[in-house]
Assembly symmetry: C2
Homo-oligomer: 205 residues x 2
């Protein structure tokens, strides 16, 4: 539908919103009209928060997580365990692991997983820097916490081979049935793997 | 869930997006990370399109539609019929009527409908300016094209009474079953009204 916009400025703003993933022109129009109803200061705050973020955001030199400083809050926190590094795909995964409050080590953000279909090879990811980081000698354990997909598994294996010559323990996060899941609804592959990889029962979860 | 953001700038940008209607913090995060992956020029274009819109947009002096100029494209178009004014709630409704390509008259954007529940009275809407416009004498017909809701009907009736002393024809857009609808699925009120307000069959739709 070739809609006639009453204003070029409006059309431009709607067009920009509609470029965002999962936002069509109708939703974009709704959001823009919502912003138009707000006062100038509110709209200015919205607009500048985004442009400031893009201009001033940094990525941690050590783990490549998003940060306001050269070295991120996690890497510069003296109470974190520097001997353990958890390898994740992206910033959201760091936040997901942090939210569990079960992990006190550091992270390494790859920036994705190896995916030939999308044209992403090992050189597009922060794998080289991970290897260098491990070679420095402080890291005793590398935890692979990538998605349980073909691409994630491929990347796990690639990193495993790259680190083979280093004196470091390589582990992978446990895979099995989710807490609270009923067996009858669990998919066969997960259930099958969770039987093969069963662990000793210790009386606690 | 009290999420720990790795960056204050990121948290701010996510917070601003999450203020938009229908966008939660998870979606906001997804959109912000999408923008972060774009180059600086793209993000700048997004941010400035919104702030420019808010700063520079005008509302037509005559019909109160959104516009880049003091008098909008429709009002200043000499080929439009100045004797007919279609009263609508908002800018989106102007666009909806324009898209039908069935109307060649002018508009009057009220800015909403009378809704005591939301604290919107007649003085919050552009009703006074509509009455003044009609009193100038050029307008021969006022078409009420508001939502078919209690609030829309109330507003219709209010405008009807306000214009009672003026020499102007007041019409309301036809209500009945939608084109393509099957009778069995039409709600009773609509079907009942469409029988009461039946029109002469002319052989064409």
């Amino acid at each position: 539908m070739n809609q006639q916009y009453p204003s070029v400025l409006l059309e431009k703003a709607v067009g920009e919103f509609a470029k965002l993933p999962g936002i069509g022109r109708k939703t974009a129009m709704r959001l823009v009209l919502h912003l138009l109803r707000q006062d100038t200061a509110t709209v200015e705050a919205f607009s500048s928060a985004i442009s400031t973020l893009k201009k001033e955001v940094k990525y941690c030199k050590v783990c490549h997580n998003i940060s306001d400083t050269d070295v991120c809050r996690i890497c510069s926190n003296p109470s974190r365990d520097v001997s353990t590094v958890c390898v994740v795909e992206n910033i959201r995964d760091v936040m997901a692991v942090e939210n569990t409050q079960q992990y006190r080590g550091l992270y390494h953000v790859l920036g994705g997983v190896i995916s030939p279909m999308d044209g992403i090879g090992p050189s597009d990811l922060e794998i080289e820097s991970l290897v260098n980081r491990v070679k420095e000698g402080t890291v005793k354990e590398v935890i692979l916490a990538l998605s349980s997909t073909m691409e994630g598994d491929t990347t796990n294996f690639y990193i495993f081979r790259k680190l083979a010559s280093c004196d470091v323990k390589i582990t992978v996060i446990a895979r099995g049935i989710s807490i609270g899941d009923e067996l009858q609804y669990t998919d066969e592959v997960t259930l099958g793997r969770s039987i093969v990889n069963r662990v000793a029962f210790t009386g606690t979860l």
